[in-house]
């Protein structure tokens, strides 16, 4: 079955489920201009490119007790980087969320815990992986206009190649301002601790391994898991490093209708590994989110 046929079958199945099983269906299409999409520390290695994503999701809510619900969610989609197609991937997965609402109505605080499993099929053979996720989220609406949330989540990749066996956890806080029922502004700030994948061209990588950047870098980088992936050009290397990333974003999401919104987001992250090698990444995103 071709990818297009699979996608069409998935969409048709989703509509059928939506009609028959009280399943909520959603479709997201997101386009991002990523500065330093290559996640490289050396300025000479910075690569900018467009990334396109689309996802079809379905969820069903099942009440368990007063204020306690189980939400089953399935999601499938793809990520395309037309300029660097070795980074293309498709994903499909499911999550189960237990949600406790402490009270009735929009102002009741909500605590949700979620576990998930996702399959990632990547053009980079080593990046094909099973991904286990977990999250705990607390959210509260304070007024008709303001609400906030705090999320702690965790992710573990079980990849084909050890280079892509990423594990990290994050803590993210968001504040949302519903200016009107049509205009929404959200600010988020978070940190990631653990593994992340970065990339370098062949010559930068060989200099790093030889200790020609700094001896400390040479010492650490020779212990890292890495492989030649040609991710952003011939001879390019992908490697798994440990460190921390701090990120923040601002998102304006006008509603195009009662079930459709058009989020416009700017996000900036600053990532630093354990020997102080850092890089910055800036993302400009426009999306269309529709709920059926």
């Amino acid at each position: 079955m071709t990818r297009r046929t699979r996608a069409a079958a998935l969409i048709l199945f989703g509509f059928a489920a939506n009609q028959a099983l009280a399943v909520s269906l959603r479709l997201d299409s997101i386009t991002t201009w990523a500065e330093n999409i290559s996640r490289s520390a050396a300025p000479a290695n910075w690569r900018d490119a467009l990334r396109q994503e689309a996802h079809l999701g379905a969820s069903q809510l099942q009440p368990l007790a007063t204020g306690l619900s189980l939400i089953a969610d399935g999601d499938a989609g793809f990520e395309l980087v037309p300029r660097y197609q070795r980074n293309n991937a498709s994903v499909a997965g499911a999550t189960a969320q237990l949600r406790k609402k402490f009270g009735l109505g929009a102002f009741a605080p909500v605590l949700a815990t979620e576990v998930g499993l996702q399959r990632r099929e990547a053009h980079l053979a080593g990046d094909a992986s099973w991904i286990a996720t977990g999250a705990l989220r607390f959210s509260k609406r304070f007024t008709d206009e303001w609400r906030a949330s705090l999320t702690g989540d965790w992710q573990q990749h079980y990849a084909s190649h050890a280079t892509f066996d990423v594990r990290h956890h994050r803590l993210i806080g968001t504040i949302t301002w519903d200016l009107t029922d049509r205009w929404q502004l959200t600010g988020g700030y978070g940190s990631l601790w653990g593994d992340f994948i970065a990339n370098a061209s062949a010559d930068v990588w060989s200099r790093a391994l030889a200790g020609l950047i700094t001896p400390a870098i040479g010492k650490l980088y020779n212990t890292l898991s890495w492989e030649v992936t040609d991710s952003y050009g011939p001879g390019w290397v992908s490697y798994r490093a440990k460190g921390r990333s701090d990120f923040w974003w601002l998102e304006l999401a006008p509603a195009l209708g009662p079930n459709t919104s058009l989020p416009l987001r700017y996000e900036s992250s600053h990532t630093k590994n354990f020997v102080g090698v850092s890089y910055r990444q800036d993302l400009w995103t426009i999306g269309v989110l529709h709920r059926f």
Partner: protein
């Protein structure tokens, strides 16, 4: 003057009186609800409470009022009923809903009910009840429970026509979910139809956002 002549005169006089005497049975009132800019206000509940004599207790309607859940919204947005009316909540959606109210007039919580099913609540006290859905936070509606049988909800043109009212003094009340200040006045219902124009100040429409939230960010 002969008896026949006197009888004819009396008959003619009574006919003359009938021609000029006012009709005392009932009057009509049309209430024109406008906002500060003169725009007609829909979904305003106009009610008249008699001041001269207590109104007879309103008759509970034989059939219940209906507030549907469809398209993940309540319909209608405002429902006006008399005390003792039962309201049915049929779910015409494809998803479950959990209808509730925290209003002092009538506080209740209907457990989650699925597509094609219906629940029912009796509204037995006068007042305003704000409804919500505990699953879909943007859903809201109002039930206005009245003790007078003389009321109407304004349609899109903002005009409420109340007919066949016993003549006399009334308190005219206008209620709207976004009403900023009280809209009330005393009126006199006469045999001549009269139009009462009421200008109301409305707060901005601040219903909760229904469109999906943005995807959010986060380095991965």
């Amino acid at each position: 003057m002969s008896r026949l002549h006197l009888r004819s005169l009396a008959l003619a006089f009574s006919f003359a009186l009938a021609g000029i005497a006012p009709r005392l049975a009932a009057g009509d009132v049309q209430v024109n609800v406008r906002d500060a800019k003169g725009v007609p206000v829909a979904d305003a509940v106009v009610s008249l409470v008699p001041l001269d004599t207590p109104a007879a207790p309103p008759t509970t309607p034989a059939s219940p009022a209906v507030i549907t859940q469809q398209g993940q919204e309540f319909d209608p947005y405002v429902t006006a009923v008399v005390v003792g009316t039962r309201v049915n909540f049929p779910n015409h959606d494809k998803v479950r809903h959990q209808v509730y109210s925290l209003s002092k007039t009538k506080s209740f919580e209907i457990p989650l009910f699925g597509p094609g099913t219906e629940q029912s609540i009796l509204f037995d006290k006068p007042g305003i009840v704000a409804l919500g859905c505990n699953i879909h936070d943007w859903m809201s509606a109002y039930v206005v429970i009245l003790e007078t049988p003389h009321f109407m909800k304004t349609p899109a043109d903002g005009l409420a026509r109340l007919a066949d009212l016993p003549l006399g003094r009334y308190r005219l009340d206008v209620w709207h979910p976004r009403l900023a200040t009280e809209a009330r006045r005393d009126v006199v219902v006469t045999a001549d139809s009269a139009t009462q124009t009421i200008s109301v100040t409305l707060k901005p429409d601040k219903r909760l956002r229904r469109a999906p939230d943005g995807a959010g960010g986060g380095y991965k």
